[in-house]
C-alpha cells in the first residue's frame, strides 16, 4: 500500500479564523480532569495578567478538530490511530481571541512496527493569532494499516 496524497494536501488547508470561547476551554479542561483556575475562572486569569481564561496546552488539539486535516482518504476498511505529536508553544491560547490554523501533509513514509508494516502520515499545523503571530505549531504522526493487523 502507498497512500495517495492530493497535491493540495501538501500545500495545506486553512481552518478558521475561529474565536475561542471560555465555555470550550472549560469543557475541555473538565474532560481532562484539569481544573486549574486559569482555565475556568476569569477572575483568576485576570489576576494573573490575562484578559480572559487561558487554555490548557493541549487545547490546541481540540482546536485543530477531531479529524486530522488535510484529510487523506484511506482504502476501504483501513484503520488509523494517532501515534504521537510534537508541539511548540510560543504563546497562550486565550478565550475571546481569534486564531487561524493552517495544516498540511508534510511527509508520508512506511515503517515496520511491533506487529508488522504500517504507513505513517506526518502533518504540520501552524496556529496564528489575529496579528499573524505564530502561537502554536503541531507536528503529528498518524499510523495507517489494514484491519487484519492491529495497531
Amino acid at each position: 500500500m502507498m497512500l495517495e496524497i492530493d497535491p493540495k494536501a501538501k500545500q495545506g488547508v486553512q481552518l478558521g479564523p475561529v474565536t475561542v470561547t471560555a465555555e470550550d476551554i472549560q469543557s475541555f479542561a473538565e474532560a481532562m480532569g484539569d481544573l486549574n483556575p486559569l482555565y475556568t475562572d476569569v477572575e483568576a486569569a485576570r489576576a494573573a495578567g490575562y484578559p480572559d481564561v487561558i487554555a490548557p496546552p493541549m487545547f490546541c488539539m481540540r482546536m485543530r478538530g477531531g479529524r486530522m486535516l488535510p484529510e487523506v482518504p484511506l482504502p476501504s476498511g483501513f484503520m488509523s490511530l494517532n501515534a504521537g505529536q510534537e508541539i511548540e508553544f510560543h504563546d497562550e491560547i486565550i478565550a475571546g481571541q481569534t486564531y487561524t490554523i493552517t495544516s498540511r501533509v508534510a511527509d508520508v513514509y512506511e515503517k515496520t512496527g511491533r506487529s508488522g508494516p504500517m504507513e505513517i502520515i506526518v502533518r504540520e499545523s501552524t496556529f496564528t493569532d489575529a496579528e499573524g503571530r505564530t502561537i502554536v505549531t503541531i507536528r503529528e504522526r498518524q499510523i495507517v494499516r489494514s484491519p487484519e493487523k492491529k495497531i
Binding site: 475541555f28 481532562m32 493541549m58 481540540r62 484503520m79 504521537g84 510534537e86 508553544f89 484491519p147
Partner: protein, 140 residues
Amino acid sequence: MALSASTLKVGDTYEEQVVEDLKRTQLVQYAGASGDYNPVHTDEVFVTKVAGYPTVFAHGMLSMGMTGKMLTNYVGDGRLTQYGVRFTRQVWPGDSLTAKATVKAIRQEEGGHIVDLDVSTVNQDGVEVVSGYASARVDP
C-alpha cells in the same frame, strides 16, 4: 510558583497521579470535548467485533493531556515551550496513570533560562503508556 534554574538539578523528578480508575464516561466526555469521535474510543461493539480489541481504549490525546496537567503543575502556567510524545501502549478503562518529569538539562537560550525534561507516564502495572519530552521557561 515558577521553577528556578539556580535550584534545579539534572536528575530532579516530579510526579503525580493524573487519573485513578479511568472511567469509560471520561472517554465519552473527552470525545465530545475534543471532537475526536474515532469509534475505537467509545463504541464497544465496533472495537471488539470489527477492530478486534478487548475493549475501548483512551484517546492518545487524553493521555497526553493528562500528562500535560502534571507538566503545567510542575513548571507553572504559561511556561511550557515544547511538548512531544509517543504513545507506547494503549490506556484502558480502569487504568490509573502516574506521570513523571525528570530534569535532563538546564540551559540558557536567548537570554532566558530553559529546563529540558524527560516525560514518562506509566499505568498501575508500571508499563509506560506515554513517552516524551518537554521544555519550559524557568526563572534565573
